[in-house]
Symmetry: C2
Subunit: 379 residues, 2 copies
C-alpha cells in the first residue's frame, strides 16, 4: 500500500521506517518545494501531486501548516486522514478554541485580537500576565509574546500590529498565563471504525518553549481519565482517523487543553521503544485501514530531545535499553536533530539510567535529565 | 556513518531500517548485478564497489555466497566485519567442520566426498541414512540429498557426480541423519572489543528444509549453557565482530552444531519485537564500533515465516502485540515474503495468541502454528 504524507521532515521519516515492515510505502510531498520525495533517502520522485494522490491508498500529514489548496486537493480524493478540518483546527488556535468549546473540553479562557482595542479588552478581562500567540503559525516557542506589565504594551503591540498587517488572514489570540504544575500530553489513535486506543499520559518539560524531556509512567487515575475524556470528545467531533496528540496544562489536578496536534507528536516518540506498537506504526495502521496495535507501555520510559547537537557520546548506547533516533538533518543551533529513548523495568531503574545518561550528556544541552533521574529514584 | 552491506535482500533491508535511527546509512552491494543500491528503496546508486568501500565506515554481509575477489577487496580495506574468513567458513561446510573441530565444539561426524569411493566409505563408517550436502552452496533445503537405502546409491551418485563435475572447486559432505528431538539456534553478537551478548536460545521448526516457525522462551539452563559455550569458543576463534547465528540439533539434551551463519539470521527475526535491541540493530552497533544493546527478551516470543504468500489477513494485526514484517519482494511459490512476530507476557498467553493466529492463517501455508499454540497452553 502507498501512503502519501504531506511533509518531508522527521515525522514522515519515522513513519516511513515504521511503515516498511507493514508493506506500507511512505512517500512525502514537500509542501515548501512542491516536490515528491522519499522521506528516508530524500531522493526526489518525478511525479505531480495529482498523480501521487491518485496512486496512493491513503493520505496523511506530518504538520499543520499546509496551504488550503493542497488540503482541498487531498480532501477531494476521499482518502485523506485525519482530513482537512482536523489539520486546519490543528493549525489555527482560533478554530481549536472553537472546537474545544463545542466539544465541552476544558481549556484556558482567551481573547481573539485583530485590533488594538482587543488587546486592551484581553488585559481587562483576563488580567496580566498574558500569553499572546499567533493563531495560524508558530509552535515550539516561535511567534509568541509574553505580556507581563502595562509598560510593555506599546512594544508588544507594535510587533503584533506588524504581524497582523502582513496578511489579512492573520489573527492573534491572548490567554492568561496559566499557573500550571506540569505539562502533560496524551497520544491517542482512532481507526476508521471509530475504535480508540490511548497511550499512557506523558509528562513533558519544555525549555525556551521547546520540548526537551518526556516521561511516560503510570499517572494518577483521575489525570488519565481526564485525558481520555478529552480524546473521546475531540476525536469523534472531527471524525478523526490516525494519531491525535493533545497537550494539557495540569492546574491543581485539572487538565486544561493547551494545544491539539492532528498528527504524531514529539511527546510520543518514547513509544518507539516503550511500547510494541509505536505512534508511527499505529498512525499508519489507522490511516491504512488496518487494526490498531496495543498502546500498552513495556515499562516506565523517557525521551530526551537532541537539540542542535550533531552527535552524542557513543557510551549513551551502552546504558541498557537506551537507543537513539536521528533524523538525518544538517545541524543548526537549537534544531531538533534526534532523540534518545530510555525504557526500564521500574521508575527507580529509569531514574538510575537517567542519572547514568546525565553523566554523559552536558547539562546545558540536555536540561533536566539529572534532576528527573534523582526525582524518580527518590519517589 | 555509512555501512556497506554485501547483498541486497531482506536482511540488508532490515539492517537499513534498524540503522537509520542510529544515523547508520546502509547501502547494499548486489553481488549478482554488481550494482550498488539502497536496500529499502532499491534505487541504484551510480558508484563503483571500490568507491563504496573507500567511502564507508564499515562493511558487512547479509549472506555467505560471495565471490572470493569481492571478499578479498573488502578485507583489504581493514573495515570488513565479520571479515573474509568468517564469511567463507559460513559458506563452506568443509571449512565449518574444520573450525568446529579446531574450536572443540560438538557437531555430527562427517565424510567429505569428491569421488565415488568416498561415498562408499561414508556409508560404511557413518551408516544409513545419510544426509548429503554440497559444501559450498545450498541452504534452506536446496542442493541436499537423503540417502536412505543402498538401492538409492546409483541414482544419488549420478546427481552428485554431475554436481562435482560442474566445477573443480565443488565438494560434498555426508553426515549421518541425526535423530534429534528438536532444532535450536542461538543468536549472539560480539563487539570490536570482544564483548559478547547472547539472545535467548530459539527453538525452530523447518518444513521441507525451510524455517517456518521460531519460538523464543526460557530453555533449560544446560541447553542455554551449551549454546553460550559454542558461541564463546567459535566467535573468538574467528575474531568475529557482529551477529553470529549457530544452528544446533538437540540430541537427548546434547547440542550438536548443524550450521554456522556469519550474519543476522531468520531464526533471530523475533528479536525485532521480542527485545528492545533487535539482532539487526545489534549487528550494526557491533560493526560500527558502537556499544552493544541488551539481548534480554521482553517476553516469550514467536516468529512465523510467510512463504510464497503475497498477503495475510489484516485481522492478524488485531491480535495484541502481533506485527508483520514484509520484505517488499515479488511473490513466488515458497519465497520468503515476510514474517509475523508475536510477543506475550507468558507462554500461556503466547499459546493463546498463536491459536488466535492459527484461526486466521491457513494450516497448509503456516504449518505448526495451531499445534505450537496448543502445546504452549498445555504446558
Amino acid at each position: 500500500m502507498n501512503i502519501l504524507v504531506l511533509g518531508a521532515g522527521q515525522l514522515a521519516r519515522m513513519m516511513s521506517l515504521a511503515g516498511a515492515p507493514l508493506d506500507l510505502n511512505v512517500i512525502s510531498y514537500d509542501v515548501g518545494s512542491g516536490q515528491l520525495l522519499h522521506p528516508l533517502t530524500l531522493h526526489t520522485v518525478d511525479q505531480t501531486l495529482a498523480r501521487a494522490i491518485a496512486d496512493c491508498d491513503a493520505i496523511t500529514a506530518e504538520f499543520e501548516h499546509i496551504p488550503d489548496a493542497v488540503l482541498s486537493q487531498c480532501q477531494a480524493s476521499g482518502k485523506f486522514y485525519p482530513g482537512q478540518e482536523a489539520i486546519k483546527v490543528g493549525g489555527d488556535r482560533a478554530l481549536e478554541k472553537a472546537l474545544l468549546e463545542r466539544a465541552g473540553v476544558p481549556c484556558a479562557s482567551y481573547q481573539l485580537i485583530t485590533e488594538r482595542a482587543h488587546l486592551e479588552q484581553a488585559i481587562e478581562r483576563l488580567g496580566l500576565p498574558l500569553v499572546i500567540k499567533t493563531c495560524q503559525a508558530g509552535y515550539d516557542g516561535k511567534g509568541q509574546w509574553r505580556l507581563r506589565a502595562d509598560s510593555d504594551v506599546e512594544l508588544i503591540w507594535a510587533e503584533m500590529a506588524a504581524f497582523l498587517a502582513a496578511d489579512a488572514l492573520h489573527s492573534i489570540i491572548a490567554e492568561p498565563m496559566i499557573p500550571f504544575q506540569r505539562e502533560v500530553s496524551v497520544i491517542a489513535v482512532r481507526d476508521r471504525a471509530g475504535n480508540i486506543a490511548v497511550y499512557p499520559v506523558t509528562e513533558n518539560e519544555h525549555t525556551n518553549g521547546v520540548l526537551t524531556l518526556s516521561l511516560a509512567r503510570a499517572v494518577e487515575d483521575d489525570i488519565h481519565q481526564q485525558a481520555v475524556d478529552a480524546v473521546t470528545r475531540l476525536a469523534p467531533a472531527l471524525d478523526y482517523v490516525g494519531v491525535l496528540a493533545i497537550e494539557f496544562f495540569d492546574v491543581d489536578g485539572q487538565l486544561l487543553v493547551n494545544e491539539i496536534a492532528p498528527r504524531v507528536h514529539n511527546s510520543g516518540h518514547w513509544t518507539q521503544q516503550g511500547t510494541l506498537c509505536s505512534q508511527f506504526e499505529n498512525h499508519l495502521r489507522a490511516v491504512a485501514g488496518l487494526p490498531l496495535g496495543s498502546t500498552e507501555a513495556i515499562g516506565p520510559s523517557a525521551m530526551i530531545n537532541v537539540l542542535g547537537q550533531a552527535a552524542i557520546p557513543a557510551q549513551v548506547l551502552s546504558v541498557a535499553n537506551v537507543t537513539s533516533h536521528w533524523y538525518g538533518k544538517a545541524c543548526r543551533p537549537g534544531r531538533k536533530m534526534g532523540h534518545i529513548n530510555v525504557v526500564a523495568g521500574s521508575e527507580d531503574l529509569l531514574g538510575e539510567k537517567l542519572l547514568q545518561l546525565s553523566a554523559l550528556l552536558p547539562q546545558e544541552h540536555y536540561p533536566g535529565v539529572a534532576r528527573l533521574g534523582r526525582e524518580l529514584m527518590q519517589e
